[in-house]
């Protein structure tokens, strides 16, 4: 999956290049984070349903988000929206300090169990409202936000270290269309860039190949 779908320049999208991220993606058994009837499809590069109106993200997007955090190892990372727990497991391969919050109780408990079963017991899980972040564990070097409130939750901004990065997937009702990386400058100012999973050249309808 990793070599052919994430690290390769499939169609018009940018391959994920960070070796540590690719290694992490290779190490985490995705099938352990999906329902039993979905395990056969676990290594396809597509999102899969995990119940409760949620999906486990497409592996390429998980890798892209992780790469966008630019982790070197040892950073403290917060994930808002645990979902299946897969993203937290990938993060845990890169840093021992991962915290994750899920608002849907049933999902949070299932994810926590899956993380423990797969040896990611160090990941701190909490069921609650991620909007307020996790003040006791902060500040964080990186935050991944998968919930949408129409704005960046101010508590998360406060819990982000200067120089830290927040990765926000933004999209339509059913899909991630772009990843926004918001950086807190040393002066506390906001700077953002957008990473798209594909490079559209909308004028011609063609896709540029990087």
């Amino acid at each position: 999956m990793v070599e052919t779908q994430i690290a390769a320049p499939v169609d018009g999208r940018d391959p994920v290049k960070d070796v540590a991220v690719l290694r992490a993606m290779n190490s985490v058994p995705r099938h352990a984070f999906v329902p039993a009837d979905m395990q056969r499809a676990a290594y396809g590069d597509t999102p899969l349903p995990i119940g409760h109106g949620q999906t486990i993200s497409q592996p390429y997007i998980v890798a892209l988000m992780t790469e966008a955090l630019e982790l070197k190892g040892g950073e403290k990372v917060l994930e808002i929206g645990t979902g299946s727990g897969y993203q937290a497991a990938v993060l845990a391969q890169l840093t021992p300090h991962v915290c994750t919050i899920e608002i849907v109780e049933a999902l949070g408990k299932t994810a926590q169990k899956a993380l423990q079963d797969e040896g990611y017991a160090d990941v701190k899980c909490r069921v609650g409202d991620g909007y307020h972040g996790w003040k006791e564990e902060g500040p964080f070097d990186g935050i991944i936000v998968t919930c949408a409130a129409g704005h960046l939750p101010p508590p998360l901004w406060e819990q982000l270290k200067p120089g830290g990065r927040i990765v926000v997937p933004v999209g339509g009702p059913f899909d991630v269309q772009r990843l926004v990386v918001i950086t807190k400058t040393p002066e506390g100012k906001r700077r953002s860039t957008t990473i798209t999973d594909v490079r559209f050249v909308p004028m011609t309808g063609e896709i540029s190949r990087p």
């Binding site: 018009g12 396809g44 597509t46 109106g53 101010p154 933004v170 957008t194 594909v198 896709i207």
Partner: protein
């Protein structure tokens, strides 16, 4: 039963068929409208759109069903009519319950695609059953009425009109999940009126039917199962774990409005940064998040709204602005207006349920804040007020269009004509503000920008670039437009405001390259300056605009009253581009609306052809009979033409009447009533020997042509009348056309029945399938080229039908 035996029947016996048909027709139409309402709550709106096709599919399949079993139905007609009426009454609640248990979802994941499509197919098949049964009652009634066929057809139309008028009224008092039961109960008297043996026998059948439904309902209480990926699904999960609760609900034909309370709600779109919002409730319309109602009582507590992007617009207004909020569904924009000490705030919302909630739960409604229940477009066109700031709240939203979720919805405010009306309501120096979520590649905001540019040109502005400004953060983009060019002071205010709020300017007159694309960077053209938004704005302001729009990956042509589909951005070439880019995931990005319409047309065409050919293969006498081709061509042409013309007029009437639900009710009922009157006149004409269609069709085409040309103007002139006056004008406009459209069907039925009665159920089926096709076809033409083209196509079809009429089978002269 022969024609003579029908004439020999007693009056009550003859009327009982017509009454049964009328009652079942009323119930079927009421059920159809109710099913749309239920699906709007449970799923996404384009699935509700399919209900029309599903209903008509039932009519088409009933023709095949009656054709194939014609012999049996001829022998057991009375009993069959009774059984079918009873089955229709029972099927409405029971099939709805059964369908409610099917796990259908609007999110199509590649891994589950075939499973999901199969489930949707089964879901629609179950929901087609009541329509199939109901249509069979009507078809059988027609088959058995012979000489009285036009009158029975008239009863069918009249009954349908009754159902159409009653449905919205019922929705005021009955929750959506119970509506199928109501219509099942309405169909029950048809069982008692059926021309079958004794009253006691009929009563026994009705009682048996009622017991079955009652027992089932006791075991399985009706409820709406929301799509788990919908916002309502999320709320249900929160409610189950005790994190959220619904504190009030208002039901109505237009929507189901719920107000939900939770400490985990924080939705405040367009908030750029800084402060967390105070506790708030969520306004939920038909299962979608619609707005936030802040739980505060005083204006200082609303300081957070000053940090929204929209607040920047107030920096360009003078002191004590007169504010107009069009389509507000929460309280945040009202609080924002109050923060600027306005002279007045007029809040216009077409949904009475939303108005009710705001009055009851928002303390922002005070002194100079006036709530008006009216359609925004209607209000701006027919009010006299002048405003310093008009906010198009109903247009504000995140990336709704990315999955095509609202693509089939018609919005008469977001058209060039609608925006022009808004510009005319601005005071000197006043401005319009609205915004959309950022998308990659952009589409909504570019369409909005193009619409604003076109509207400015319509009010005589030669340089629209001097009247427009755009700015954004990383998630939202706001557009400002003014009927007057920006003053130097206003431009200075913009610069200051953008800087203070850390916003990224996209465009304003005099913008410098160094200001572009920061602090929030977005992708842009390779080697170009700025992001795609800036690039697109420059193109749209230039003489190259038309070429640019044609070349853009998405459909960003400005919407017009004739093509009022603002939220549709689909182009056929988009599919190829997405498939090349995203592989199996292309379906997650495609604009589903237009694809949905095309898919429906394709599916219906295949099913229609198969179900039309099947009786020919199965029944030798039908296969070898004469006049099949002309019969099929004729009934297909009038089926297509009737529905396409009706949908075309419906779009126009929505503009005239204002409220879309009332417009639909009046238009459809008007069509049915006047067409049924034509059926009764046709009956008399036939008795007097009048059998010509040519003159009627010529008159029909002339009237349709005149109405299509003038209805827009009429809507503008008559729109100022009070609601009953607008109803009257709408009915006056519909009457001549619908009356003339009521002749082709009964005249041809009568003619074919006399020459070759075996063709009647088959013709009924062909007409049904053509009607199925017509609903998505009219929408597709409306989306691609405009409803004028749809109307013109209908006129051509009527002319073709008139040409074919002479070739229909007819009795040989003795």
């Amino acid at each position: 039963m022969t024609a003579q035996s029908v004439l020999n029947m007693s009056w009550p016996a003859r009327q009982s068929v017509a009454l049964s048909v009328a009652l079942v027709s009323a119930a079927v139409l009421g059920f159809e409208i109710s099913l749309m309402r239920m699906l709007l709550v449970a799923s996404w709106h384009h699935f509700a759109f399919v209900v029309i096709s599903i209903a008509m599919l039932g009519f088409g399949v009933s023709g095949t069903f009656l054709s194939v079993f014609r012999g049996w139905f001829s022998r057991h007609g009375d009993g069959a009519l009774l059984a079918l009426a009873a089955a229709t009454a029972a099927a409405m609640p029971l099939c709805s319950l059964l369908a409610g248990h099917m796990p259908v979802e609007a999110r199509f994941l590649p891994t589950l695609l075939w499973r999901q499509l199969g489930m949707w197919l089964a879901y629609w098949a179950v929901l087609t059953i009541p329509f199939l049964l109901g249509a069979s009652v009507i078809g059988l009634g027609l088959m058995r009425s012979h000489e009285r066929m036009p009158a029975v057809y008239g009863a069918n139309l009249l009954g349908s009109a009754g159902g159409c008028i009653a449905a919205p009224l019922v929705m005021h008092i009955v929750r959506p999940e119970w509506l199928p039961l109501v219509w099942g109960v309405c169909a029950m008297p048809a069982v008692l009126w059926a021309p079958y043996r004794t009253v006691r026998a009929r009563g026994a059948v009705a009682a048996g039917c009622a017991i079955i439904v009652g027992v089932w309902l006791c075991a399985d209480r009706p409820r709406i199962q929301c799509d788990p990926y919908k916002y309502a699904g999320h709320l249900e999960r929160l409610a189950r774990q005790g994190s959220a609760s619904c504190i009030a609900t208002v039901i109505g034909p237009r929507s189901v409005v719920g107000l939900w309370r939770s400490e985990v709600f924080h939705d405040l779109p367009f908030l750029s940064s800084g402060v967390a919002p105070p506790p708030l409730d969520a306004m939920v319309i038909d299962g979608h998040w619609a707005g936030s109602v802040l739980r505060i009582t005083e204006t200082p507590q609303a300081a957070v709204v000053d940090r929204t992007l929209v607040a920047a617009a107030y920096a360009m207004c003078g002191a004590r602005p007169r504010v107009l909020l069009l389509g507000e569904t929460g309280s945040t924009n009202m609080w924002l207006a109050l923060r600027h000490a306005p002279e007045s705030v007029d809040v216009v919302q077409g949904d009475p349920g939303v108005i009710h909630m705001l009055r009851r739960f928002s303390s922002v409604v005070r002194g100079n804040v006036q709530l008006v229940t009216a359609e925004p477009r209607h209000f701006v066109e027919h009010s006299n007020g002048q405003y310093d700031l008009i906010q198009l709240v109903s247009l504000q939203g995140s990336a709704v269009g990315s999955a095509g979720m609202a693509g089939l919805g018609q919005d008469h405010l977001a058209t060039v004509e609608g925006i022009t009306a808004c510009l005319r309501r601005l005071s000197p120096g006043g401005l319009i503000v609205t915004g959309r979520g950022i998308q990659t590649p952009p589409r909504d905001s570019l369409k909005l920008l193009g619409t604003l540019i076109e509207a400015l040109r319509r009010i005589g502005v030669n340089n629209p670039q001097d009247h427009i400004a755009m700015f954004r953060d990383y998630q939202w983009v706001c557009i400002l437009a003014s009927a007057s060019p920006w003053s130097a002071e206003q431009i200075q205010s913009m610069r200051r405001s953008f800087s203070e709020r850390e916003l990224t300017p996209v465009y304003y007159p005099g913008i410098q390259p160094g200001e572009l694309n920061q602090p929030d960077a977005l992708p842009g053209p390779a080697g170009g300056v700025g992001d795609w938004y800036y690039h697109a704005a420059m193109e749209l302001f230039s003489a190259r605009a038309e070429r640019f729009i044609a070349q853009w990956l998405f459909d960003i042509r400005p919407a017009t009253d004739d093509r009022p589909f603002f939220h549709d951005f689909g182009k056929l070439r988009l599919i190829g581009a997405l498939r090349r880019t995203l592989g199996d995931l292309w379906l997650t990005r495609v604009e589903l609306a237009f694809l949905f319409v095309l898919g429906t047309i394709a599916a219906v065409a295949v099913v229609g052809v198969v179900m039309t050919i099947a009786p020919l293969l199965l029944l030798p006498d039908l296969r070898h009979g004469r006049g099949k081709t002309s019969t099929a061509a004729y009934f297909a042409a009038i089926g297509l033409a009737y529905m396409v013309l009706e949908m075309t007029l419906l779009s126009r009437m929505t503009h005239l009447i204002g409220d879309p639900v009332q417009a639909a009710s009046v238009t459809i009922a008007g069509f049915l009533v006047f067409s049924s009157a034509a059926s009764l006149v046709a009956q008399r004409l036939l008795k007097k020997g009048g059998r010509s269609l040519g003159g009627i069709v010529v008159a029909l085409v002339c009237v349709a042509g005149v109405e299509l040309a003038l209805l827009g103007r009429l809507a503008h002139l008559a729109g100022a009348l009070p609601l009953p006056g607008r109803y009257g004008m709408a009915l006056l406009a519909i009457a001549p056309l619908a009356f003339l459209m009521g002749f082709p069907m009964p005249l041809a039925l009568w003619r074919v029945d006399r020459a070759q009665p075996s063709l009647i159920p088959w013709a009924w089926g062909v007409n049904g399938f053509a009607s199925v096709l017509a609903a998505p076809a009219a929408t597709a033409i409306g989306m691609a080229w405009g409803f004028t083209y749809a109307g013109a196509a209908a006129m051509v079809l009527y002319l073709l039908a008139a040409a074919v009429f002479r070739r229909l089978p007819q009795c040989q002269a003795p």
